[in-house]
C-alpha cells in the first residue's frame, strides 16, 4: 500500500495547489447555489430536493473535469512511464488517483454547507434526507470520477479525456430516461433504466438508502476502476 499512499498524497497535493481545482469547485458551487436557491423560491418548500435534483446534471460535468487530468496528463508529460517503472502496481496507481479525486469530491460537497444551513434556517426540520442525499451524492460523484478516470486512461489529451468521460457518463446517466429509452423495445428500455445512474440516485435524494442502489454504485465504480487498471496494464503488452 506504500505505492497507493504515495500516489494519493501526490494527487491530493496537486488538487489543492493548482488554480484549476479551485476554479472547478467554485463553478460547481455557483451553479449549485443558484439552482438550489431558485428551486427553494419556486417550490416554497424548505428542503434539499431542488439541490439533489440538479446535482446529477452538474456532476455529469464535474466528475470528468476532476478526473480528466489524472492519467492523461501523465501520459502527455511522459511521467507515466516513470511512474510505471517504479515498484508500484497498476491498481495502486489507479486506486491512489481515484481516492484523491474522491477526497476532493468530499471537500467539494463539504463546501456546499451553506445550502443545508439555509434550508434549516428557512424551516427544514428533517435532516434524514440531507444525509441520505449527500451519501448518494458521494457515490454518484465517485461513479462519474471512475468513468472520468477510465477516459483519462485511454487518451493522451486532457480535453479529449474530458469529452470522452462526459460522453460515457452522459450515456450511462440518460439511458434510463424516457426520452432515450422510448426509442428502444420495452424489455430493453427496462434494462436500460435499471442500468442507468439517474435511476439509482432518485431514492437517496428523498431520504431512502436502498442496498440495491449502493451495490449498483459500488459495482459500477469497481468496473470502471478495473477497466482503468487494465488500460494501464495494456501498455505493457
Amino acid at each position: 500500500m506504500k505505492g497507493f499512499k504515495a500516489v494519493f498524497k501526490r494527487e491530493i497535493a496537486n488538487y489543492f495547489s493548482s488554480w484549476m481545482g479551485y476554479i472547478v469547485v467554485a463553478a460547481f458551487l455557483v451553479f449549485m447555489g443558484f439552482f438550489f436557491f431558485n428551486g427553494l423560491l419556486e417550490t416554497n418548500i424548505a428542503d434539499m430536493r431542488s439541490f439533489f435534483k440538479v446535482l446529477p446534471f452538474v456532476f455529469l460535468f464535474f466528475g470528468p473535469a476532476v478526473a480528466m487530468r489524472l492519467i492523461a496528463e501523465e501520459k502527455k508529460l511522459g511521467s507515466l512511464e516513470i511512474l510505471l517503472t517504479l515498484p508500484i502496481r497498476d491498481w495502486e496507481v489507479v486506486l491512489g488517483k481515484f481516492a484523491a479525486a474522491a477526497v476532493f469530491l468530499l471537500f467539494t460537497l463539504f463546501c456546499t454547507w451553506p445550502m443545508p444551513a439555509t434550508a434549516i434556517y428557512l424551516g427544514a426540520t428533517d435532516p434524514g434526507p440531507f444525509w441520505s442525499g449527500y451519501f448518494g451524492a458521494f457515490f454518484l460523484g465517485c461513479s462519474f470520477i471512475s468513468i472520468g478516470l477510465f477516459a483519462s486512461s485511454i487518451v493522451k489529451d486532457q480535453v479529449l479525456a474530458f469529452i470522452v468521460g462526459l460522453g460515457i457518463s452522459f450515456f450511462i446517466f440518460v439511458m434510463g430516461e424516457p426520452f432515450v429509452s422510448s426509442y428502444f423495445p420495452e424489455w430493453l428500455s427496462w434494462f436500460m433504466m435499471k442500468a442507468s445512474l439517474g435511476y439509482h440516485f432518485t431514492a437517496m435524494g428523498r431520504g431512502v438508502v436502498d442496498t440495491r442502489d449502493v451495490v449498483y454504485f459500488l459495482c459500477l465504480i469497481g468496473f470502471f476502476l478495473y477497466l482503468s487498471t487494465m488500460s494501464l496494464t495494456a501498455r505493457k503488452w
Binding site: F16, S17, W19, Y22, V25, A26, L29, V30, G33, F34, F36, F37, L40, L41, N44, I45, A46, D47, C111, W113, P114, A117, T118, Y121, L122, G123, A124, T125, D126, P127, G128, P129, W131, S132, G176, P178, S181, S182, Y183, E186, S189, W190, M193, Y199, A203, R206, G207, V208, V209, D210, T211, R212, V215, C219, F223, Y226, M230, T233, A234, W237
Partner: protein, 556 residues
C-alpha cells in the same frame, strides 16, 4: 502480433468478462435480497405502526394481487418501483399471512375477462415515442382478497398515499363490518345529503350512514359507531336529548356541532340560534358560549363586493387554526393538518371536573390575538375592530368518557307518540343471585370500561357545509379534519397516522426569507467561492514564501 501477446489479451478479456459477470451477479443478488433504510424523520417510506399492527393481526391469508403490466412505459417506472416497494413491505411484515403476487395479464385473455368482470380495466397511458405522443393500454391496479371478500384499487398511479389506500382496503376486508354513522335530522339540523353533500359523498367511501329523527321517536341504531348532530336550528325535544344522553353515557361516540350564531338571509350581521343542544353538552362540562370569535392574527381571507369592486381582505371572523396551534395542543385528529378554518365560530369553556382533566384534547384553539363579540355580531369586514380581551379561545374539544348522565336526577321524559317503549333493565337484587350472574356483571363492567365513548364539540356547524366552501374557498382543506375525526372515532388513530406522513412538507418561512433574501442569495452563491479563492490565494502565498525561504537557506 505474436502468440504470446494474443494470449495475454485473451486472458485479459476473459478476466474482464469474468469480473463483469461477477458484478452483474452481485447486482442481481442485491435486487433479490435488499434492505431499505428510511432516514426521513417521520419515516415517510416505511410502513406506519398502524399498518404493521393490522398486518400482524391477520387471522387468515391476505392475498394481494398487483395487476401491473411488465412492459410499462418508462414514465411509470418510478411509480412502479414505489408500488413494488410498498407491497413488498406489506408482504415482509405480514409474513406467511400475506401472499403477494405481481401479475401481468398481457397475453392471458381469460384473466383479462375475469378482471373486466371485477371492474379492473386497462388504463390508457400517454407515452412519448420519438417525436410524438402515443397511447398505450396498461394494467396498473391491485386487488385484495381476504376470506370471501375483496377490495380493489383501480388506478395505483393516482391514489396519493399508496400505503393509506392499501391499508384502508385491508382494514375494510378484515373488519367485521363497515362503521356506521347515525346522523340526527331533528330540530332543523344541517342535512348531510343537501347542506353537507361534499363531505357526505367523501365520507360515504368509508362509512355507512343512517338517518335518525329523534323527535319522531326513532331510535339510534344499536350498531351506530358515531352519533352526529350537525347544528340544530331549533330546540330538540326532551326525549331527543334523553336519547342522545343515553347513547353517550352507554359508551357511544357523539359529535356535536353546536351553532350559537348563524348567517341570516340579510347579509348585515349574524343572528342567534335558538337551540338547546348547548344546554345538553354543558351538562357534561362543555359550555359553548353565545359569542363569535374574531382572530386578528390567524385569519382567512374574504372576497366581497364594495361599490362594484371585488375587494379581498383578511377576515378575523374566519378563524384559521394552524400548525402552531396544532403543535401546541397536539391531538391524533389534528396531527399533521396544515390548517382548519372556522367561520363565525363560538368559543368553548370547560367547566366543573373537565377543567382539570388532562385527557381532554383541544382540537382547535385560536391565537392569543382573538377577541369575541357577544351582542352585535358584526360581520362587515370594514367595521371589524379588535375590541375587548385578547386571548386564546377554545373552538373545538374532544372529551373522552365515561360521562355522567344529564338525566341522573331527572325523571325520564315521556316518549313521543309512536316511539318504542323503553325497556329498562332493573338492577340485580342483592339477594338470590343466580349462578353465573356475578360473572356476567364483571363482563359488562369490563365492556363498559373498554367502550367509554367520546364527545366531540365544535362551536360551529357552518364550516362543514357546501355554502361555506363556496363562500370561503380556503375552507376546502377542512375535509381532512372531518375524515380524521370520524376515522379516529371509529377506527382509532391507525389510519390517521398513515395519511399524516404525506402532509408534512416544511414550508419556507416567508418572514425569514423576505427579511434576508439578498443575504441568503449571497450566502448560497457567492460566499463559498469567495472563501475558496481567498484560501487558494493564502495557500499560494504561503507556498511562495516557504519556497523563497528554502531558496534563501540553500543560497546561504
Amino acid at each position: 502480433m505474436n502468440l504470446r501477446s494474443l494470449s495475454i489479451r485473451t486472458i485479459a478479456l476473459v478476466n474482464l468478462l469474468l469480473f463483469a459477470g461477477i458484478l452483474v451477479s452481485v447486482v442481481v443478488l442485491a435486487e433479490m435480497h435488499y434492505k431499505r433504510l428510511d432516514l426521513t424523520a417521520n419515516r415517510a417510506y416505511t410502513l406506519s405502526d398502524g399498518t404493521v399492527k393490522m398486518l400482524r393481526s391477520l387471522g387468515d391469508v391476505l392475498h394481494i394481487k398487483v395487476y401491473m403490466s411488465k412492459d410499462l412505459p418508462p414514465e411509470f417506472t418510478a411509480a412502479a418501483r414505489e408500488i413494488r416497494d410498498t407491497f413488498e413491505e406489506f408482504a415482509a411484515v405480514g409474513g406467511r399471512n400475506v401472499n403477494l403476487r405481481f401479475i401481468d395479464p398481457a397475453d392471458d385473455d381469460k384473466l383479462k375477462a375475469d378482471l373486466n368482470q371485477m371492474g379492473i380495466l386497462e388504463l390508457r397511458a400517454q407515452i412519448r415515442k420519438k417525436e410524438r405522443l402515443e397511447y398505450k393500454n396498461i394494467y396498473f391496479s391491485a386487488a385484495f382478497f381476504y376470506r370471501n371478500r375483496k377490495e380493489i384499487i383501480r388506478n395505483l398511479y393516482q391514489v396519493g398515499s399508496l400505503e393509506l389506500a392499501a391499508a384502508r382496503a385491508v382494514y375494510k376486508l378484515i373488519r367485521e363490518r363497515t362503521p356506521k354513522i347515525a346522523y340526527v335530522t331533528s330540530a332543523k339540523t344541517y342535512d348531510l345529503n343537501e347542506a353537507y353533500s361534499t363531505l357526505y359523498k367523501e365520507l360515504l367511501k368509508t362509512f355507512n350512514f343512517a338517518k335518525v329523527d329523534l323527535d319522531k321517536g326513532e331510535e339510534i341504531p344499536e350498531d351506530a359507531d358515531v352519533l352526529f348532530i350537525a347544528g340544530p336550528n331549533e330546540k330538540l325535544s326532551e326525549w331527543a336529548k334523553y336519547q342522545i344522553d343515553r347513547y353517550l353515557t352507554n359508551g357511544g361516540n357523539v359529535v356535536a356541532f353546536v351553532e350559537q350564531v348563524k348567517f341570516p338571509e340579510s347579509r348585515d350581521r349574524l343572528v342567534r340560534v335558538n337551540s338547546n343542544l348547548d344546554e345538553l353538552v354543558a351538562s357534561y362540562g362543555v359550555k359553548v358560549n353565545k359569542d363569535m370569535v374574531c382572530d386578528f392574527l390567524k385569519r382567512g381571507i374574504i372576497r366581497y363586493n364594495y361599490g362594484g369592486q371585488i375587494i379581498q381582505a383578511q377576515y378575523p371572523p374566519l378563524v384559521a387554526v394552524d400548525k402552531v396551534a396544532f403543535s401546541k395542543y397536539p391531538s391524533p385528529i389534528t396531527n399533521g393538518l396544515e390548517v382548519l378554518y372556522l367561520p363565525w365560530t363560538s368559543s368553548i369553556t370547560l367547566e366543573g371536573k373537565l377543567k382539570d382533566r388532562k385527557d381532554v384534547q383541544y382540537l382547535a384553539v385560536s391565537s392569543p390575538q382573538s377577541t369575541i363579540q357577544t351582542s352585535t355580531f358584526t360581520i362587515d369586514p370594514a367595521r371589524l375592530r379588535p375590541i375587548g380581551d385578547k386571548k386564546e379561545r377554545v373552538l373545538a374539544v374532544l372529551v373522552p368518557g365515561p360521562f355522567e348522565s344529564a338525566y341522573k336526577d331527572k325523571p325520564t321524559p315521556a316518549p313521543p307518540a309512536g316511539a318504542k317503549k323503553e325497556t329498562k333493565k332493573e338492577p340485580a337484587a342483592s339477594n338470590g343471585k343466580k349462578e353465573g350472574e356475578e360473572e356476567s356483571k364483571e363482563e359488562n363492567a369490563a365492556a363498559k370500561e373498554e367502550k367509554k365513548g367520546y364527545l366531540v364539540v365544535v362551536g360551529n356547524a357552518f364550516f362543514a357545509s357546501d355554502d361555506c366552501r363556496s363562500m370561503f374557498w380556503q375552507t376546502r382543506v377542512n375535509m381532512k379534519f372531518f375524515q380524521n375525526l370520524f376515522e379516529y372515532l371509529t377506527m382509532g388513530s391507525d389510519l390517521i397516522g398513515i395519511r399524516m406522513k404525506k402532509l408534512s412538507l416544511p414550508k419556507v418561512l416567508e418572514e425569514k426569507l423576505n427579511k434576508s433574501k439578498s443575504l441568503l442569495w449571497a450566502f448560497n452563491i457567492a460566499l463559498m467561492p469567495f472563501l475558496l479563492f481567498a484560501f487558494a490565494a493564502g495557500f499560494k502565498i504561503w507556498s511562495f514564501m516557504r519556497k523563497r525561504r528554502y531558496e534563501e537557506m540553500v543560497g546561504r
